[in-house]
Symmetry: D2
Subunit: 330 residues, 4 copies
């Protein structure tokens, strides 16, 4: 799980949220950011493309394509909707991947399997149909329609003592895949996006600039091959919620007071100064290490991991009809 | 994990927090609530006794004894401190238990093993030294200094379809123990108490009155034998944090404005109305099911479970010197 | 996992194996044992009924009905076959259950979740659709076609210190179900039956008479309601394999020597005496606690648990079409 | 888990068993194989050194040093003995490692975490004190007496699609450690060695030559740095047990018959031919994939993993007194 900052306090890994935040400030379309949306089968699909250097800077997100599938219904157990989301995810992933049928793919499940909200990547890898060794040693057992897929969940720095990007570089040099897919749990800004949103990006993964976050990126620049990042928000940072709460309250206070009221100014000036102090006081002592998650996090992560694994299997192996994606899970 | 309300929004299962909240409101000692504190080995021990019906009502906690051990150092990995806390916990537990050496004990690990912050009870049970069957079938293999201990982690209503208290009643009727110890994860009000505080109570467990919380209690009244409750706070409800944040901010605003200022009244009146609306807006859609926990929750629960299991083993079996409590864990 | 003896050394929990063994000795049909077989969809279904007291004694199996589904193809991952087996299992289970649509059912997952081959029962319970509490508290959320189902995995004597049958008795007295289904991992005699065979019996579970096996039975006699036992062999006792190996070798030796040969007699007499000594020597020091299992035991247990849970859900809740059994798993 | 053959049917990864087998055949000391034994604290320590090319061939084990610690008492839960074994293991490991205090070490946990008897390596890695990243980023938090240690459990070919030796090579090229320690579950010939024996070898790991076992080795030749292999036998192959049983029986038969008896010759000639057929018949259909393990395998693997992790931590970090090895486990 990595985090990147759009503005102070608010951490989001989702390009759509970065855009929303920026739009909220500037209240007009952002040059260099293209947007396309589609609503189908109860799923809201957003395709954002960041095309200029300047938009990259303002958004705090690398130039490239970001596709988001949002299905609020996933919050409830709904196997029919899960299957629909899986099918559309497969389609969108294929649209962004763009490799030929024989090209080999390495899938990396990022994150810490000991920490439930961070275990999404390793859990997806567990259910992938890994074929590289079979195609090399006993290709006849598989038949047509499978490409070489390998997979690893390398763990996190605290578990291995090695930067994840270094482990991946070493592996890529040996396996020489044509494409890397990196799966990771994300931080969102908005609680409604937890476990209901999937982001696909062709930009790879750029770690945040926060303290203790000096990990190198996982992208074409560092790895040498195209990197597709797939992520699902599983937590909202407690600081984000706190900031949201206080901002909403201040906005409500100021609106009711009216701009001309003396109260308005007082609230505004006081607020700016006190906000931080109050947040520090309340969120101390666990500070930056606090997260907000739904209580049923374990089930939600498990369900999403199965959905993603099935849909990635279907995208990578033409032999697996999307409808039967679930069949090849262990 | 159960929750009980002291006042609106604020949920805490800790008697010391209920007292703090009430003291904050009334700003004087509460009649019918006795208090005794001790600081030793870096541990702050508080012994609260609620002795009157009226204090029970005001505190929202049953009449009886509540002992709390607080060791903020537990937030960091510190095996030496863990051992000290275990020793003092053993001592306090023995002071409240008050049964003879041959009396039999049933330990119940409450909570849902699939939900990390609620898995404390089942995890403790896993490491208990269970002896009832050995003392019945092959007593000679154990030697002196062991009492009959049995244990069960019955799961939660959603897993079994049966009220936990009913499962326990059925079991107690068969096993006929002299004492029941129930271990449960708690909700705290204060983040600093997460995974650093242990509460022992001789009142059993009274479920909150909230919606969906109609479970019967587990206490001498329902079970027919003394019930000791042991609990550790593992989550703070997101609503509690939100309430805290907003209250702190409003207090700061009002203080700076000064009571005579017109701002003061405006803020106050507006605040009362808006607080709830803002909280509902931000915490929606997961509403009441959101929790705030440290990111390293998995490790913190594991560590605390080992500490408690070792210390309960030492308390129940005189043969196990407290110093060697860890030795009998699996 | 319980074990019962047909003859010395050979332990099997399967009625069909008990019958095979007895047939091998007496070489004729056994009075009081009725047999009916069917081959369908690659599944061999055997329905054995033991109808007399004498047959019960000779077979070492209680009077009653035993249905066995054998599908050797389950040894390989084959989701289509799994679905067929699930459908036929549902049908056979319904034929033996014979309760009305509103009758309530308690499902018990026997065995030790910490020991993979013994974890089948608890694993099945994990994926059951438990409805008793919903039908009591919020029946409107479920709609038609669901009966009250509750479930518990009580653990084993070594974990709880309490006889499993006592825990179940206590629970039955509180829940008052109309039927109990007990799921357990079994020991087979024949390796080919591991993870490929499911036995349904209307006799409940009678524990073996071996040392340390004094657990009371779980049957209509001890529980007071009908008990259906569902079991899958997951291990062969090492002693069984050893006995098999030696018996096969001796048979081969004797056959080649010819009955008239002096070798025949010598081998026979020597063999009878040495067999036990050799087995004791080789299987010491883990003796009776050794098991033989396929290396992929973890996956095989997981797959079978899902199959059974889905099929039991479909059998108990008319609303769940057998074809969609998998959909209601968590 | 790898396996190597000393003679047909008998698979053992232990040099002491290879030696025993060879001694059993040739009935004299083997040139080029040096032996040294020691009995201390209830532990039998054997130091075997294979010094010639010819001995390597006859033993089926690479030239180098093999140290074995055997403590039959480990079969029972015995924390005192565990601590003694840990201390002696630390000492022996240090004697074979021979690197300076600042040298960096990479520990690899081989095997499949989904298969209990093969999960030893990954389980040990989980409890290691990994320091490489701390010494690089925040050395001041550790103090003196820690060397840079990194660790990875790379999984097995069927999980990743990549040869484990390739993953390790890639990692070594990035991390550039001075020494590699590889931990693996082993196959023994003798049941009494399961979970009671630890082997340390300075030869690295040479995979068996069996079918499906074409994995490259992990040794100084393939990795470029010294490789210490640490292993514990957790299974005996079912074929080994079968072979043992039959051989013992035939030996007993022949001995009682007497060499001059006509029975002797018949048994011998018949036996040679039938042995294989009988084994194939009985062990079919799971054939080579069957293993024999104690029923409590899960607990035994867990206990041994803790012992090894604690002892390796103590060996690698001078700051960790061997006596306190357990303290630094998570």
């Amino acid at each position: 799980m990595k985090t990147s900052h759009v503005n102070r306090n608010i951490r989001t890994d989702l390009a759509i949220e970065a855009r929303e935040l920026l739009m909220g400030e500037v209240r007009q379309e952002i040059p260099g950011v293209q947007l396309d949306t589609e609503d189908v089968d109860g799923i809201h699909i957003t395709r954002v493309e960041i095309t200029t250097r300047e938009a990259e800077k303002r958004m705090g997100k690398k130039q490239g394509k970001y596709i988001t599938l949002e299905a609020p219904g996933l919050r409830q157990k709904n196997t029919e909707l899960q299957e629909k989301v899986a099918r559309h995810f497969t389609k969108e992933l294929l649209s962004i991947i763009n490799i030929d049928a024989k090209a080999s793919v390495l899938v990396i499940g990022l994150g810490n399997w000991n920490v439930t909200p961070d275990a999404l990547g390793p859990r997806v890898v567990k259910d992938l149909l890994v074929t590289r060794h079979i195609l090399e040693l006993q290709p006849e057992t598989l038949g047509e329609g499978f490409r070489p897929v390998s997979a690893l969940a390398p763990g996190v720095l605290g578990i291995t003592g090695v930067e994840t990007s270094e482990i991946i570089q070493g592996l890529v040099e040996k396996v020489k895949p044509d494409l890397l897919i990196a799966i990771d749990a994300l931080a969102a800004r908005n609680l409604s996006r937890l476990h209901t949103t999937i982001q696909i990006a062709d930009t790879g993964i750029t770690p945040g600039s926060g303290v203790g976050n000096k990990r190198l990126g996982i992208s074409r620049e560092t790895i040498g091959i195209p990197v597709i990042a797939v992520g699902v928000p599983t937590v909202v940072d407690a600081v984000t919620i706190a900031d949201d709460l206080i901002s909403h309250l201040l906005a409500a206070l100021m609106q009711e007071a009216g701009e001309s009221s003396p109260v308005y100014k007082v609230v505004r000036s006081i607020a700016e100064g006190d906000k931080r102090a109050v947040m520090a006081e309340v969120l101390e002592p666990y500070g930056g290490r606090l997260m907000v998650t739904p209580k049923e996090i374990d089930t939600l992560v498990e369900d999403m991991a199965r959905l993603l694994a099935g849909a990635i299997n279907a995208a990578l192996h033409p032999a697996i009809a999307s409808e039967e994606a679930g069949k090849y899970l262990h």
